[in-house]
């Protein structure tokens, strides 16, 4: 049972590709070996900047011989059919056997595959793997045609057991396999010969190469936190950066450096971003002040001066970088001081948001109008919300955001503060993009909420108006994320609103939009309503009299709004499903009036889910369904609606009378509770009907001989239906078995 060791040694592999590549190597090789008839006990793959390594343990020495019989065409079949069979089976015609079959004589091919030595299989699988490796991007070099992520220099491939190691012979476009490799580029010049994986890893370490990425990351984090701690500081954790840096070095050497005092006045986020993006430095924070004061860099070298030269160089580079950041910062502040944030954002008029939805400035105008409208319902002053909306995207024109796009919003906050904005406006600049991810924090400050909602709702209505909805996995404008954002904002802030009205009025909001290429429609390219806009461009515009135009577009808006609302409902279902609320429960609530009030909708769904989780609740559903079925059948049969007039005086059985009493009691509780949107109380009262309803069905025959009694009982069932449906549309609830 030999072990296999493969190392593909190349010029520097991009850090971000190393992990995936080592996994791919493992999968492709082990799959290939298994497919060729070999088994193995275990496999592990590794990567450093210059090598991909695979260790396979306990490989079978050779594949088993295989004998396979294949049934072919009948004797006398057309030549073409026989030739095809020969090709498929890989045998010659004279090798075919003729056997008697029920239907006559038939050709048989007997294919015997002898066992193959592991080395032959390994060579074949490795060559195939190298030639077809799924690099995200690969390249040619020199005069060759071989592709690899960067030039491939050597292939180490050995099979080893107690008796020793043996090179698996392989030659790929002139690169011949061996049992040798190289250590660290600068600290170990000699070629290394290896005899096993353990030997390989140990020799690499002596040659200043740590093979395992997690070990390198661990070394970095350990040294970095220790050094920071010794200086009374702490390293700002960044797992992504740690993984990346571990992929940039074979021998990590951690150095703690200083930031020039000149730059400590920059916003900490700017320091952090600049150091991370450009230099791959970790930020080091003073826990007392929260300020970023130093940095950690990771070198790939041990030097005679213990890294002093390297650190000095890194500090100098950082100073130049931060001088640039400072230049942007000061220029931006100057711009803000002289022309305010609106002035800073003026160039947005020339920046296209979407060619069918106008410029960023057009978009900002729409968001402003919407933010003003939403403001009262979230407790914000309309003027403040409008002010925040007007400037919230101005930082997109700043030099800092041009250089570091990831600082958008945050710079807006700093610049809004610098411009003297107050009362939640700067915060709104930063927070109006939130929430981005499903676990992102949701803004709660009123101005922020108003602008965040306006931003997202404008995006959704806009793309709905131009018919650019998400399809399948395609959602290029992140509309699902926007809808989820609206939902989370509404719920978190317990917003009570009529979303439908808001959306319709936004579709119908009057903004003159001028689009590229719209001149040909005889409207001078200008339209009044957002909803009119794309419809016009797509040739389904309105051609009637001007006085009726608004009405016409209102009709279109209604359709689009319904569609958009159901998109919200779909996202809500996904959102609530993650919280353990079943889709049929949500459907039962969506079917109720006021379903565009998401807070109300969720409250109702939560109460219903809670009720259905109880024994009473679950059984009530059975009772309701039974009542509803009997009633529906009777109504169909009789052609009348039993909806009124159940009278206690025609009740005969005690259970029947008891149900009357119970329904009266439930009514008395449910109606006011529903009025007060106290779904919990209403549903508890509804669930309390379970006992009387069950008893009724046990003791009472609905289809009584007396028509009067029967009619009265049907009308009684109708009361059950009415009460239950007033709480939620229980017909949507799937029956529990």
């Amino acid at each position: 049972m030999p072990d296999l060791l493969i190392e593909l040694f190349s010029e520097e592999i991009p850090a971000r590709m190393q992990k995936r590549a080592s996994e791919d190597l493992k999968k492709l090789i082990t799959d290939g070996l298994v497919e060729a008839g070999l088994n193995y006990a275990g496999a592990a793959a590794f990567a450093t900047p210059r090598r991909l390594t695979l260790s396979v343990e306990g490989l079978t020495g050779e594949s088993k011989a295989v004998r396979e019989e294949r049934r072919g065409p009948k004797v006398g079949a057309p030549d073409k059919a026989i030739e095809g069979f020969l090709r498929g089976a890989g045998v010659a015609r004279e090798d075919l056997e003729i056997r008697d079959d029920k239907k006559g004589q038939v050709y048989f091919a007997v294919v015997e595959k002898p066992g193959r030595k592991a080395a032959d299989i390994v060579a074949e699988v490795l060559e195939k793997t190298i030639r077809n490796f799924p690099w995200p991007k690969s390249m040619r070099w020199g005069e060759g045609t071989l592709k690899w992520v960067r030039p491939l220099h050597s292939i180490l491939c050995i099979l080893c057991d107690e008796a020793g190691a043996e090179v698996v012979p392989l030659d790929i476009d002139g690169i011949r396999s061996s049992n040798t490799t190289q250590g660290h580029r600068f600290m170990a010049k000699d070629t290394i010969s290896v005899s096993s994986f353990d030997d390989y890893e140990a020799r690499l370490k002596r040659a200043y190469v740590v093979l395992r990425a997690d070990e390198r990351a661990e070394m970095i984090w350990h040294d970095a936190t220790n050094q920071a701690f010794a200086a009374g500081l702490e390293v700002v954790e960044d797992r992504g950066l740690l993984a990346e840096v571990a992929g940039l070095v074979e021998w990590p050497v951690v150095l703690l450096g200083r930031i020039d005092d000149d730059f400590l006045g920059l916003p900490p986020e700017v320091l952090q971003t600049s150091m991370k993006e450009h230099q791959k430095f970790f930020s080091v924070r003073n826990p007392k002040t929260g300020r970023i004061e130093r940095f950690v860099t990771v070198a790939n070298m041990e030097t005679a001066d213990n890294g002093a030269t390297i650190l000095a160089g890194n500090q100098k580079v950082l100073s130049a970088r931060l001088a640039d950041a400072k230049f942007f910062w000061e220029n931006d502040l100057r711009t803000v001081k002289t022309m305010g944030l609106e002035g800073m954002g003026a160039p947005l008029a020339d920046v296209t948001f979407h060619n069918k939805l106008g410029s960023q400035a057009d978009r900002i105008k729409r968001i402003e109008a919407l933010a003003r409208e939403i403001a009262p319902s979230v407790g914000a002053k309309p003027d403040l919300a409008a002010e925040a909306a007007r400037i919230c995207k101005s930082d997109l024109s700043s030099e800092m955001v041009y250089e570091f796009p990831e600082l958008q919003g945050l710079m807006g906050r700093y610049y809004a503060e610098a411009a003297g904005h107050d009362d939640g406006v700067p915060e709104a600049c930063e927070e109006h993009y939130s929430p981005l991810g499903p676990s992102d924090d949701v803004p709660t400050a009123p101005v922020s909420v108003a602008v965040a909602l306006a931003d997202k709702i404008d995006t959704l209505t806009g793309f709905w108006a131009i018919d650019e909805k998400p399809t399948g996995s395609k959602d290029p404008f992140a509309l699902r994320r926007a809808a989820l954002g609206v939902i989370r904002l509404a719920l978190q802030n317990e917003m009570r609103w009529e979303l439908i009205d808001l959306i319709v009025s936004h579709f119908m909001s009057k903004h003159e939009i001028v689009a590229d290429g719209s001149e040909g429609y005889g409207f001078g390219g200008k339209t009044d309503f957002l909803v009119e806009f794309w419809q016009l461009l797509s040739g389904t515009g309105y051609g009637g009299p001007e006085s009726e135009k608004e009405l016409f577009w209102l009709g279109v808006s209604d359709e689009l709004t319904k569609d958009l609302l159901s998109f919200f409902h779909d996202r809500l279902k996904v959102f609530l499903k993650d919280k353990g609320i079943r889709h049929d429960i949500i459907d039962a609530c969506i079917a109720m009036p006021g379903n565009d009030d998401l807070t109300l909708l969720v409250k109702r769904a939560e109460a219903l889910a809670e009720t259905l989780a109880t024994d009473d609740g679950e059984n009530l559903i059975q009772g309701f369904k039974r009542a509803n079925n009997i009633l529906t059948q009777a109504e169909e049969k009789d052609g009348v609606e039993y909806s009124y007039g159940a009278d206690l005086k025609y009740a005969e059985e005690p259970a029947e009378k008891a149900l009357f009493t119970a329904l009266d009691a439930a009514d008395a509780k449910i109606a006011p509770a529903m009025e007060a949107e106290d779904f919990s109380t209403a549903m508890t009262a509804m669930a309390a009907l379970r006992g009387p309803i069950d008893q009724f069905f046990t003791d009472v025959q609905v289809n009584a001989e007396s028509q009067v009694v029967r009619r009265n009982r049907l009308n009684l069932l109708s009361r059950i239906r009415k009460i239950c449906l007033s709480v939620a549309d229980l017909t949507n609830i799937e029956g529990s078995s």
Partner: protein, 306 residues
């Protein structure tokens, strides 16, 4: 280890010597405004076709948006690049390159030299390649690229391209803090000159012109003119009626492409190009670059049998 260089020009001279010693033809700068050494036809055009090629040269380069009025320690709107192009890329190009760092006084045992992923793409040239930026102690000292495609043509064989940002490299080697303080010639000379003596004033002049004064209408016209001339040159039949020779004017056409590209950079610095227009302009320059590349591969230097 050689003695450390003492001036900016000594670093350049040592690179010239080093690459001459490695068999490169030492060319002179191209006599046009370009954004990078790659634009020199010795790289752009010569990386096309099958003929082997090895050249090295200094290229003055202009990036109008990088102007900082001479204030930033290492950002300049006019700077020098040192460019090496070898086709086919030799298998030990990384080692040869590291030798050049040693030649200019970087002792690899004392520094942290790293090859960090940086895929190179020039949308204006319709070119891309894979490689790295080379870091020395966290500073980018060179770009190292294996060309895969130029002007829409696959590079076969592949050229290896090295680009050194000379000022930044020299600042580091010479141990000065600000580019303008860097000795240009030997500080022991009778008339010692710093980089600032040579370029500080021009950085201010050009920064002001680039950002605020350049006449955008004139520039827009220049762009259109260069574009039209490039197309006109290439539409001429190869048969020269005067000499009877077969002459495809790939280089004169390419000059116009370079010109259009630089004018675009100036317009960009003036901030008059919107995001949507930007793509369109880049596309127009790329179309020119592609036409020039198409023309060049029809020529003898482009690998066409004479």
């Amino acid at each position: 280890m050689a003695e450390k260089p003492r001036s900016f020009q000594e670093i350049i001279l040592r690179l010239q010597n080093y690459w001459a010693g490695r068999g490169c033809a030492i060319l002179q700068p191209y006599d046009m405004e370009v954004g990078a050494g790659t634009f020199h036809p010795a790289t752009t055009l010569r990386s096309l076709g099958s003929k082997p090629w090895a050249a090295a040269y200094v290229q003055p380069s202009r990036r109008p948006t990088d102007g900082r009025y001479g204030e930033n320690p290492n950002r300049l709107q006019h700077y020098y690049q040192y460019q090496v192009i070898i086709k086919p890329s030799p298998p030990d190009l990384q080692e040869i390159y590291l030798g050049s760092l040693e030649a200019i006084g970087i002792d690899a045992s004392m520094h942290d030299i790293r090859f960090v992923e940086d895929d190179w793409e020039s949308p204006t040239l319709g070119a891309w390649g894979l490689g790295w930026e080379v870091w020395c102690d966290g500073m980018e000292v060179s770009q190292f690229t294996y060309f895969q495609q130029v002007g829409g043509h696959d590079c076969k064989p592949v050229s290896g391209e090295l680009t050194y940002g000379l000022e930044r490299l020299a600042i580091y080697i010479l141990g000065v803090d600000h580019v303008m303080d860097m000795p240009f010639n030997d500080p022991q000379s009778t008339i010692p000159l710093t980089y600032g003596d040579v370029f500080k004033q021009t950085e201010q002049e050009y920064a002001r012109w680039n950002f605020d004064v350049a006449d955008t209408d004139v520039l827009l016209q220049h762009f259109k003119d260069a574009e039209a001339e490039c197309q006109r040159i290439l539409s001429e039949p190869a048969d020269d009626p005067k000499t009877g020779l077969w002459i495809i004017m790939a280089h004169p056409a390419y000059d116009q492409c370079i010109k259009a590209s630089h004018v675009f950079n100036l317009l960009d610095a003036r901030g008059v190009i919107s995001v949507t227009e930007r793509q369109a302009y880049i596309g127009r320059v790329r179309a020119l670059a592609k036409m020039c590349a198409d023309a060049f591969v029809q020529t003898e230097a482009g690998g066409q049998a004479a």
